[in-house]
Symmetry: C2
Subunit: 137 residues, 2 copies
DNA sequence: CTTCACACTTACATTTATGTACGTACTTAC
DNA sequence: GTAAGTACGTACATAAATGTAAGTGTGAAG
């Protein structure tokens, strides 16, 4: 375990902004991070890693997502260049969603985190059990 | 690019719940994911990867965080067993925060994602530039 | 004597996220 | 003829996240 840092001062803002720095409040990275780590963004990326899915297939795959939020999330990810949207002009509508190369890289990182959490849930749950009152949230 | 999956059906819920499955709406993993990927949770984990920091040091490190949200986030992560809180009983107060082994593993995954985003911001920004109207969010 | 830092907590206001319900235009299945 | 499925958009309502401002008790610095 590292020693406490007695006299800590953050690096100057100018330096921290040169290459996107999340610690800087105004960094555009935070927007992307928001989309990718959003409640449904994570699950969409992971779901699409398994291959192309239609809107309704995504909706059935991801438990609890509403149509509205799924559409919203897909639009975020499409705008960020993570997701391809392919609409076939037929009726009833048929729209396919898939990951772009960018999206596949992002999905991989996100899935590593998700897998880690699922796998280590027991260890985490110990902490919940240990603390008595515990109702933090 | 994978082929469209014409007749997709998700696996049964019972099977998906046996080991924590994020796709299941009620899975406790989602709570952990929420804390870890929350706006400030990500940044706290990354900040603490560099070593122990005091409350006020964290506040100065993480641009834009309010005292209230920092305290809140630290409590979430502490309850999830990711963060150690060490209060020295002196006045004025002195409290150190550091990562637990669990927290270090989580922080690593989170940082990989954050680093990827920062590094690939230019590629992502292209998508923003490409689409004309673009004001998705 | 006044001000400030510390590490929070609480109350309150506001912004953001998310949900619900409905509409659409047409087709296939019953 | 009636119901259901498709991929959304939109209006409205609610829940959740986040911000703001103030207060706490004490000691050191000015």
């Amino acid at each position: 375990m590292p020693e406490p840092n007695e006299d800590y001062t953050p690096p100057p803002l100018s330096e921290r902004m040169q290459r996107g720095d999340l610690m800087a409040a105004a960094c555009p990275s935070r927007k992307v991070l928001k989309h990718v780590t959003s409640r449904w963004g994570v699950l969409v990326l992971i779901a699409l890693e398994g291959g192309t899915l239609r809107f309704s297939e995504l909706r059935r795959t991801i438990g609890g997502v509403s149509e509205r939020m799924l559409a919203q999330t897909l639009q975020w990810l499409e705008a960020d260049g993570m997701v391809n949207r392919t609409a076939h002009d037929v009726v009833p509508p048929h729209v396919d969603y898939s990951l772009t190369p960018l999206g596949q890289e992002a999905a991989e990182k996100v899935r590593l985190l998700a897998d880690w959490i699922e796998f280590n849930l027991p260890r985490i749950a110990e902490s919940w059990a240990d603390r008595q009152s515990a109702a933090v949230d």
